[in-house]
Symmetry: C2
DNA sequence: AGCGAATTCAAACGTATGTTTGAATTATCA
DNA sequence: TGATAATTCAAACATACGTTTGAATTCGCT
């Protein structure tokens, strides 16, 4: 495999698993079996590498999301939530991708990586707007949009945290209650809860 | 003010505002106007300082929480949610404390500070168990406890994220919709949504 | 095969980190 | 006041970081 892709793969795992700031280029390149100078040769800087990892995670999500909608003309909120849930949960490698994606998002928010928010809104502007449109619905008043915005943050926080901590939580429920959450159960617990967050009361 | 408290105050703000790993002892001590060696003199190490900050944040939350319940004998889930919301939102310094607390929690989870989770469950064991008991209710079956556990993670994620990002989100809605969320509105949006997360479907 | 570009490599650069030291200063209290 | 303990301080320690360098190696193509 190409050096560039080896670096991307290892960086995605390590950034997600141990945090962005906490992961050194030396640790990444050592695990990937490449020279440390390769990072600056292929990506220019650590910041650019972070963006490249983010780009791949985002592209995979939006690809799977629009694929799951398979060109439906008008998309209901519930359809959108199901498609998003599947894009995160039902991937070839199970929840591993979703966990990394959510861990990365969480780390990005917690570690003041503002450049990543800018990156999302410029490089994936169209996908981002479409996706939000599906969730928001149409013909909302200003104050309804305002409330929806806040509920969306509740939802985003709930998803980021529970998915990114999936392994820990799964281990806890297994030892505590002898029960574990299957992938399809996760989806059928998640979608109604998400709807409730966006529409309660 | 004592050097030890100056360090604690500045560390709490900077850890929350810029992340734990990203905040150096030099930056803290410089802002606090004390010598850098004072950290290791008063706290022993950076890790101990992190725990001390966490301790103070937790103590303040639980104090305000049980104060808000003011010795009620049996506590309903809704009462508990109101008390928790007030403990975070209605503090003398407004949302500043809650924001820092949630930012710190979020950073702790994202940055693999496992020692902090251990710290909570040992140093605040009794408060922690009581608080969870109020939210969980009684007489739940194994599978109900299991589902409650997951819903609680949704709720925790929603709260951590929306409160910790309050300033950013408030600025966005202000410029986007010309609307801002008052503290009491936040509580009356939050409690029903929290109930919905725990009880939907 | 042989040339030019692309890539890899060991080594070093400058800077920043948490921690430690031992002397200087300040506070405590008989 | 004077001795003892607590605290502060400038300086250095060892280590780790992202980045850069220039030579060595590999690759792509005629």
């Amino acid at each position: 495999m190409k050096t560039k892709d080896k670096i991307l793969d290892v960086a995605e795992v390590m950034f997600s698993e141990h945090g962005i700031t906490e992961t050194s280029l030396r640790a990444i390149t050592q695990k990937a079996g490449v020279n440390i100078a390769a990072v600056n040769y292929h990506f220019g800087s650590k910041k650019n590498l972070i963006q490249a990892v983010f780009h791949r995670l985002l592209a995979r999500f939006f690809d799977a999301y629009f694929e799951a909608l398979s060109g439906a003309t008008s998309v209901s909120r519930e359809q959108a939530l199901h498609a998003a849930a599947r894009a995160i949960i039902n991937q070839p490698d199970g929840l591993d991708y979703g966990r990394r994606f959510m861990k990365f998002l969480q780390a990005a928010y917690a570690q003041q990586q503002a450049h990543l928010r800018r990156y999302l809104q410029t490089e994936f502007h169209d996908e981002y707007v479409l996706f939000l449109g599906h969730l928001a619905g149409h013909g909302l008043s200003k104050s309804q949009q305002f409330e929806f915005f806040w509920r969306l943050q509740f939802l985003l926080g709930a998803v980021m945290f529970s998915i990114s901590e999936y392994r820990t939580l799964d281990a806890i429920t297994d030892s505590e209650y002898g029960l574990r959450l299957a992938q399809d159960s996760l989806e059928s617990l998640f979608v109604p809860t998400a709807l409730a967050i966006l529409e309660s009361k």
